[in-house]
Symmetry: C2
Subunit: 86 residues, 2 copies
């Protein structure tokens, strides 16, 4: 049986791949996949946001290597930042 922290790590990998495999590069999130992930996984947070450019802003902040996609490292940074912020 996994520990709580192992469960956290497994879940982060599972969530990422659940969305990253939907279109294009199967190991990266494109803008549509980031939007879908936020809408489905952070429903309350996303529904309170009125800014239409929110996904663009998050993509720009996350996309450290500027390839217009979010890899697993960048996704984990987002989860860390949101956990501290929310």
């Amino acid at each position: 049986m996994p520990t709580q922290l192992e469960l956290v790590m497994n879940l982060m990998i599972r969530i990422f791949h659940q969305y990253s495999c939907k279109e294009g590069d199967r190991f990266k999130l494109d803008k549509g996949e980031v939007k879908m992930l936020l809408q489905r996984e952070l429903t309350k947070f996303f529904s309170c946001q009125k800014k239409p450019q929110l996904v663009d802003t998050i993509m720009q902040d996350l996309d450290a290597n500027k390839d217009n996609e979010v890899d697993f490292n960048e996704f984990v940074v987002m989860v860390a930042a949101l956990t501290v912020a929310l």
Copy 2:
């Protein structure tokens, strides 16, 4: 019912506080608490490590503000780094 990502965030907060409240500052992990967290939550990883200075090294790497303790932000960075590394 929480989404998977909300579960990840809740679990990270719960794990941190479970160890940070054991001694000293209840909102920070000291060296003993970091060691206990790693030993209990990452049993396989920790049991494979032979270096006695491992906890010191991790503490130094994590402790961005050099107060010899690990706050929640620093803990989340550790979880992110370990998830990518392991």
